[in-house]
Symmetry: C2
Subunit: 208 residues, 2 copies
Amino acid sequence: MSKGERTRERIISTAAPLFNRLGYGGATLADLMAATGLEKGGLYRHFASKEDIALAAFDHAARLHGDRIRSHVAAAGPLASARLVAIAEAIASLAVNPVVPGGCPLLNTAIESDDNEGPMYPALRTRARRAMTRLIGAVRDIIADGVTRGEFRKGIDAEAEASGVVSTLEGALMLTKLYDDPIHVRHAVDRVRDRADALVATSPSKSR
Amino acid sequence: MSKGERTRERIISTAAPLFNRLGYGGATLADLMAATGLEKGGLYRHFASKEDIALAAFDHAARLHGDRIRSHVAAAGPLASARLVAIAEAIASLAVNPVVPGGCPLLNTAIESDDNEGPMYPALRTRARRAMTRLIGAVRDIIADGVTRGEFRKGIDAEAEASGVVSTLEGALMLTKLYDDPIHVRHAVDRVRDRADALVATSPSKSR
């Protein structure tokens, strides 16, 4: 890696927590300069604009987020129910041990970009959607695989289940951050565990 | 209401959607001036600061939010399960028919204020917590009342259930806003309905 590439990487990893904590609109160029120790010209030697830094910072955070999810799921073994709980625990872990300070970058970016009209928001929204679609898809695939394996009962709407799992966990991350209390993500993991039990083909707790 | 009070109310109701859509940091004094048609001096005749307008705008949005919840619950009749679904539908309705344009003011304010250090954020965070505590408390009271009435089975952790219900719905609001697709809040209402069924004392779907 050249010195220029190293500087670029350092800017990205320094910018990512700033944007994740303060928002893309909230973190100013002055904040980026103070945190990196670079002048405006130094930043703009590596990036075309603040938007360009914001997008690279989101990509960085989303990649670490994906790595966290994958490592939890890989450690869970082959059972779909265990993999589902592992993905819940991976998302819950972001509340107490975030991949980038400031909580879940997907949630934060989704909320900030959904109604904002500034020039950098359409690209951020597109990226937040893409990362969220990957997350929902990972949950859906675990559930669909569980059905295929005969572990989960037939007829489950895996897409609807995945939407519910991700909603519960992301909403709980918001509550845990708001109150600075991990109880809400713990409750959410319990809910996903209950739901996984209810999906098991031989479970007595089928509600449908 | 005096002319001054009317102007103050008009500033608040004009500012609330700006802050809810663009964020408290994102909506500028220039945005407030453009939307209200008032000069800076006109705004500051009624409010001490932008923070002062932001807090009044949040209070306004949170009051409308509470009114929406209460009217749905009041129309649901006495059954706790019906009241629980009604509160879910009330929150879900914010995605397609918000009380203030820009989605759920509690969710938006929670996410923006949780890590932000600007001078207006501690007061906004306090208000977001207070409003969210009222919402979680309303869900908890419905569940606890269902247990007292014998409609729901004994031993339910009403506080944990309420955390799960609010997490699911607020997370689904985020997804619905991100994708501009009401399917996620519909799934969330279905989840709450399933959960209400599972809480019923005579239900065959007790998972615990």
